[in-house]
Symmetry: D2
Subunit: 379 residues, 4 copies
């Protein structure tokens, strides 16, 4: 694996590296860790990489690695840069024959996203978008519970993603993460809705298999001086007639990162929250509540495939991330060996999720500015 981004002090780059390493399937062999060549090169020691494979730019990395003999060069590219630096590396990597795993949102604009989809289709490479939360085993189980029909027709979907870390005007304090996340030139058209709203949006479509058809958004800039939305609520309509509510906020002071989803059908509902990630609550009409727990034999094959430990041994954020890496790697390996990937390996977020995520951002921004209640969800 070659990594683009993830230089000194970058949180998400380190997460990607640990996630990739966890299962022993992927080895980091090269990287272009920063747009500053000095900073990039400084990572060689820390990561125990040969200096000649720590590149000064992502273009250089892709070009030189592609020129190496097949058995020596990197096989996959991991992109962990800020949003405005997603599209270029992804396109070049795919067109150079590499499979790509990358952070979300997929691109800077919806147009880029649609362009990238064409590149994926043309090159036939895999693209995995690391929407972490669909990597959790109990989210996999939630999807299977809905798919099996256990809840009946889905009627109501509720997702909330509360954070409090931007409750104050941190972008002026030298806090890098806060700086780029709130900067339209690096983050894109949306703030909270782009950073965490897209996770929440993706999760509802992943778990239910439904698609949003219209939305009504109230977006707020709560902290004075901020340039992008830091809080918002969105009413949703889905393609089977179900309705929903999505909340995403980074100014809910005191909240950590407790993404929660609840889905209700005719016969019952289910509930998952990040703070208790190894449980899935299932509430059927007129029956005791059930708490399904990761690692048990009664879970679906999809859930079990995405767990490494037996019941009662909690897995967390790294492992959810690692599930995407592992499934992606298994698919890449299967193709290399001329085999067919299993259905559960293919269950990672793809370029299609990326396109819908970017459409969500553009539609939610449009709705936020509109005086009309409903905005059709256009892709």
């Amino acid at each position: 694996m070659g990594m683009i981004g993830g230089g000194p002090g970058a949180f998400i780059g380190a997460v990607h590296r640990s996630a990739a390493a966890l299962d022993g399937l992927i080895v980091l062999v090269c990287g272009a860790f920063s747009s500053d060549p000095e900073k990039s090169k400084s990572m060689a020691g820390e990561l125990d990489l040969p200096p000649e494979r720590v590149y000064g730019s992502w273009e250089e990395m892709i070009r030189k690695e592609a020129a190496m003999p097949e058995e020596e060069r990197m096989e996959i590219v991991s992109i962990v840069t800020p949003n405005h630096l997603h599209f270029g590396p992804a396109k070049m990597a795919l067109e150079s024959g590499f499979d790509v795993i990358m952070d979300k949102p997929m691109t800077f604009t919806l147009d880029e996203a649609k362009e990238l989809k064409k590149v994926v289709e043309k090159t036939g490479r895999y693209l995995c978008l690391t929407h972490t939360y669909s990597g959790y085993p109990m989210i996999k189980e939630a999807k299977e519970q809905v798919r099996s029909g256990a809840l009946g027709t889905i009627r109501k979907i509720f997702v909330t993603y509360p954070q409090g870390w931007l409750s104050q005007y941190l972008e002026a304090t030298g806090y890098k993460q806060a700086e780029w996340r709130t900067d339209p030139s690096r983050s894109g058209a949306a703030g909270a809705m782009g950073d965490i709203g897209t996770h929440a949006f993706n999760l509802t479509e992943y778990v239910t298999g439904l698609q949003v058809t219209a939305l009504c958004a109230q977006l707020n800039i709560v902290v004075e001086g901020r340039k992008l939305d830091d809080d918002g609520a969105v009413l949703l309509q889905y393609n089977n007639g179900a309705t929903g509510v999505l909340m995403a906020s980074q100014i809910m002071a005191g909240e950590e990162n407790n993404l929660t989803i609840k889905v209700y059908g005719e016969k019952g509902g289910l509930e998952w929250s990040h703070a208790d990630a190894n449980s899935l609550l299932v509430k059927m009409l007129d029956a005791p509540y059930q708490t399904l727990r990761a690692g048990n034999g009664y879970l679906s094959e999809l859930a079990r495939h995405n767990t490494r430990t037996p019941w009662g041994h909690p897995e967390g954020f790294f492992e959810a991330f690692a599930n995407h890496y592992r499934n992606f790697a298994l698919c890449v390996e299967a193709r290399k060996n001329g085999g067919q990937p299993k259905a559960e390996w293919l269950d990672f977020p793809t370029v299609d999720d990326g396109v819908r995520g970017m459409a969500f951002i553009e539609n939610v921004i449009a709705s936020g500015k509109s005086e009309k209640k409903w905005t059709a969800f256009e892709v």
Copy 2:
């Protein structure tokens, strides 16, 4: 106390009687328990009342009791009928010199509510509206936490009231409660929004001291054949610039009755849910979470006044209800004795809450039908 409504099998009537009895301050002395005189009279035995004081109609009860000597007649009137039978008895009771405690929503229409407010003002009687949830001690504490400024300026309010009992078309099965709740001629213009949405709405204004100024509603009739909304979500604007989301649904299959409120200010947030009613979660920025528990000496005087047991001895629905009864009774008694009621006794929902609750119903219905995003909250 004389009771209007609460005949054979009525759930809420029995709750009112137990709540009134709990503290030994109020004695049930008469009643008109049903619009069917036979059914009303049948309650005499069960309730150990003299048959001559179980009346065939509420008009008869008010008229005859008012004609009795002051030391013998009932002192207060409790109204627990369906919504369309609230206004008449309340008006007559007030005008006959009785203080009134009654179930919510206060009236059938906003016009009736405004009329009733005039009657209260003219007669100088107390009117207590039993919004149960503001009777819970930890909700009192939540109010005090906001009032004290501990959270800073309030920015975000979130309230959800999920029930699942109307997930199916129960109104055709002979289930009385489902019948009248879903019948526009008895329940009023709103279904779920009237029955439980008003509780949620009232709770946000009670806890924060703020008032809704505009709203954007999506109301749904999810169960086929139903005549009133059984599910809905509402975006809210408050008079200090804060925004909010309110959800109320009776088709969230599997949910019981878990009203939850979260309020976020600049410095921190708080959270209360009915399923853990004796706790209040306070989350301050960059500090450990705090769980405040009913019955402790560190709570506000308001919270402590509304608790009967020491820490760790859970109080519940009856006790929250009984708090309104007790505070109302203490005020009535104070006036009788020529004294001043204490501030914490006056902290029960009044006719003003009733007027705003009815305005909520009418505004939320109007917004639900509107194609415009925002509907101004008019009273």
Copy 3:
């Protein structure tokens, strides 16, 4: 009902009165509220009782009430005095023809308890001992789950009763409750084991239907200067071969009153805690956890009989207490009417529980002093 004890400021007396009033089945008609006649009489106003029926001593109350015409006199006696004043009033009341409901532990010594059992048998009156916790509906459900065989043969029982209120030497601060609870001349041979250990012990036998046959106790006086145990742990053997652990402590600083019981059989386990009293957790081998919730139709008849509200409307300490009062009252009434009490009415703690509770105290004290590991449980 006539009450003995429960004078000015007494916590448990007020709880008994509210619990008795809740269902409208029992009316307080007289009392001897304090051993100090002045204090006793001072309660007449507060409780709205005729002064001539507020007596200066319990002997006077029982004697005079017994002499009244049957239709005028009290029907039942409630005893809420400190432990050393349980036996005398109970014996006289029973022998005077009254049914008795009383606080625990039943007597001051095991000998008194055995003597009282004879009195009950001779007089044929009902005696109800208010072990609050077996009044909770989900404890009733736990009992039925075990009885039904759902868990298989019971193997392991675990009960813990943590409190922190005696973490410091409060008995010197004028705190009445702390004074008598830690005073051997009023509380008896045991401190924490008598006050709360007996609750825990009773709960294990109630839920499982088993009986303790041997025990091994470690009793501690943790706070310097205290005269009775304030902390202890007990290993238990039951008559079917199951084993158990009981902990009761009043020096677990920070703990409120969270009695918790867990019972494990061959096929699964169950768990109840006072802090979430309306839930019962059932964990079957290789199956999702189940949370049974009070007020649901899927519960046993015994649980449903002991609930007043539908699902999601929490009941608490008063209601658990009130269940004992109601069941006791229904039995007394049935006998009066010449009928048979229903099985679920008879499900309150009796003189037999009282005898075993006193035996627990004496055996646990003996074991605490013994150097031998096991002490046979003798009654």
Copy 4:
């Protein structure tokens, strides 16, 4: 790193490998994965190791690796065999100049443990014993809370380790893990007490800094036919006068793996459970409960050092394990570089913990057989 044990299908071996890989500090370079040379060699492909460094026996591995040039040979040895195969490899590895990280319990007997301690002292190598639970950041925080004096003098310690996986006679079903865990010739003198009781015991001493001085055990073989204890409870005395209770059971049907510890001092208590590993509950007398959450800036330096993610991003079992690996590796590296390890790196379980763990096993077995209440804790 070279690994001994962890062959095909071994759960804990895979955990060790993932934990070692997570932080990119340790690379697996060789192994003797099974006592069956065929099985050992079969791991080469799966683990991407050169076949010549996958050895047929641990003796061969240690001998040959020790003979390699320093810059090529393995630096540390990880031992993940069943208990009877701990001592031999550990001793030889240490004496061959390697640092050792190994699974618990440390040895088969206390004598072996004491012998190993001498080897460690003589060779000056590091030995890390993977008591997973002391690797959790919130357990580190618990230790710091006690050490800081925040709770006052510790009075009461309570630890329970409930599992249900051996509720039935699985050792006859071909379940390997069940077979060796219940086999005295591979597991040692104790069953549940050795496998999980030692974890619980170690955790109390780690968190409190106290040492057990006497114990009173009730050990049970609950499942018919089993040869080792599968359930037990132990009363404890600590060297500052505190007392405690330890429970460890593998027949609590329905339980997963929810190790829980509670510690009470004069001023307050704390509580941690594995099922909510990223939280630490602190309960101070007369104050709101506090929930400390992993990843926050208000935590001790020790807790923060052992966390990789910011608040709200759950870490779990692998990360706790990885903390021991990382700290051990940092110490080894520091010595290699001639530097001093930091205090927080040295905070992993050592040979001294291993000796006390083996003493716990021998003392608890002795006490279980004794008719005397107390058995002195002898090492």
